[in-house]
């Protein structure tokens, strides 16, 4: 990374103000057991919907936050938290068994191969995409995508150099927000470069 670019990132990071989405009366679902507990809670208590439960604890840049309330009678709110530490995570199988798998997608394998990448580059792609997404999210450079019962989707544009020509390419990656600044990769390539 060039020094000038690093300076831009640092300025952006320090200018971001973060908020945490709060769903009162329930703990952020960090584990499967907690998630299952939230399901039972939602079933027993119709005041709680999965969308709100899955937003609980998620962090957003104040100027790029989902609108509150989410729905009629929604009792969620957000709190200022200052700064966060972002963690961008993904699993290698999203590359080895999805992007570079013939049957699983519609043209993505061919596209990555046209750029000069193969399944042997999966580890590089995983690490580089996580690295860029982590910086972008920490800088507030993300696009709010669709929000549904699963949670709030976030799109982040990744820039890579084609392995064959060195020309820069940019593509959209899809992430899901999780509590306390964690974002998890849904798809290494997919979605639109615009707010839903």
């Amino acid at each position: 990374m060039e020094l000038s670019q690093a300076n831009v990132y640092v300025k952006k990071m320090f200018s971001c103000e973060w908020v945490k989405w709060i769903h009162p009366g329930s703990a952020p679902a960090e584990t499967s057991a907690a998630k299952r507990g939230n399901v039972d809670n939602a079933l027993l208590n119709s005041r709680h919907c999965a969308s709100c439960l899955n937003m609980n604890g998620c962090c957003f840049e104040k100027g790029n936050c989902p609108e509150n309330p989410l729905h009629e009678h929604c009792h969620c709110h957000y709190e200022d938290i200052g700064t966060i530490t972002v963690r961008a995570t993904s699993v290698i199988e999203k590359y080895t068994k999805y992007i570079f798998e013939n049957e699983k997608n519609k043209g993505k394998k061919a596209l990555f191969e046209a750029w000069g990448f193969s399944s042997l580059d999966s580890d590089f792609l995983k690490k580089e995409i996580e690295r860029q997404a982590q910086i972008a999210f920490q800088c507030g450079d993300y696009i709010l995508g669709k929000r549904n019962e699963y949670g709030q989707r976030i799109s982040i544009v990744i820039h890579l150099k084609r392995k064959d020509t060195g020309e820069e390419i940019a593509f959209v990656t899809g992430w899901m927000s999780y509590p306390d600044g964690r974002i998890e990769l849904n798809t290494p390539y997919g979605g639109k470069n615009e707010r839903a």
């Binding site: 679902a29 499967s32 998630k35 939230n38 399901v39 939602a42 999965a50 439960l53 899955n54 699993v91 199988e93 999203k94 068994k97 999805y98 049957e103 699983k104 997608n105 519609k106 043209g107 993505k108 596209l111 669709k146 549904n148 019962e149 699963y150 949670g151 989707r153 544009v157 390419i169 940019a170 593509f171 959209v172 899809g174 899901m176 998890e184 849904n186 798809t187 390539y189 997919g190 979605g191 639109k192 470069n193 615009e194």
Partner: protein, 75 residues
């Protein structure tokens, strides 16, 4: 049911139709269970937007686990 499994929608709900998923549609699980839902992606077309950024028209839909069946042979 686990991530990257092929799944078929076996229950028709208005909420799924609103998001572009209809009864019998097949997609891929791209997000593990979260509060009773999984994230299912239905593949779309690849295109470049006006800025040259590669995008897709795919749909991602939150589906209740019990409304899906795993497809073992997509063909």
């Amino acid at each position: 049911m686990k991530e990257l499994d092929w799944v078929r929608l076996i229950k028709d709900r208005a909420r799924y139709r609103e998001q572009g998923m209809n009864l019998g549609d097949i997609g891929i699980v791209m997000g593990g269970e979260r509060n009773g839902y999984v994230l299912v992606v239905i593949e779309g077309e690849i295109y470049q937007d006006e800025n040259g950024v590669y995008c897709t028209t795919e749909k991602d839909v939150a589906v209740r686990v019990e409304d899906l069946e795993v497809v073992t042979d997509k063909k």
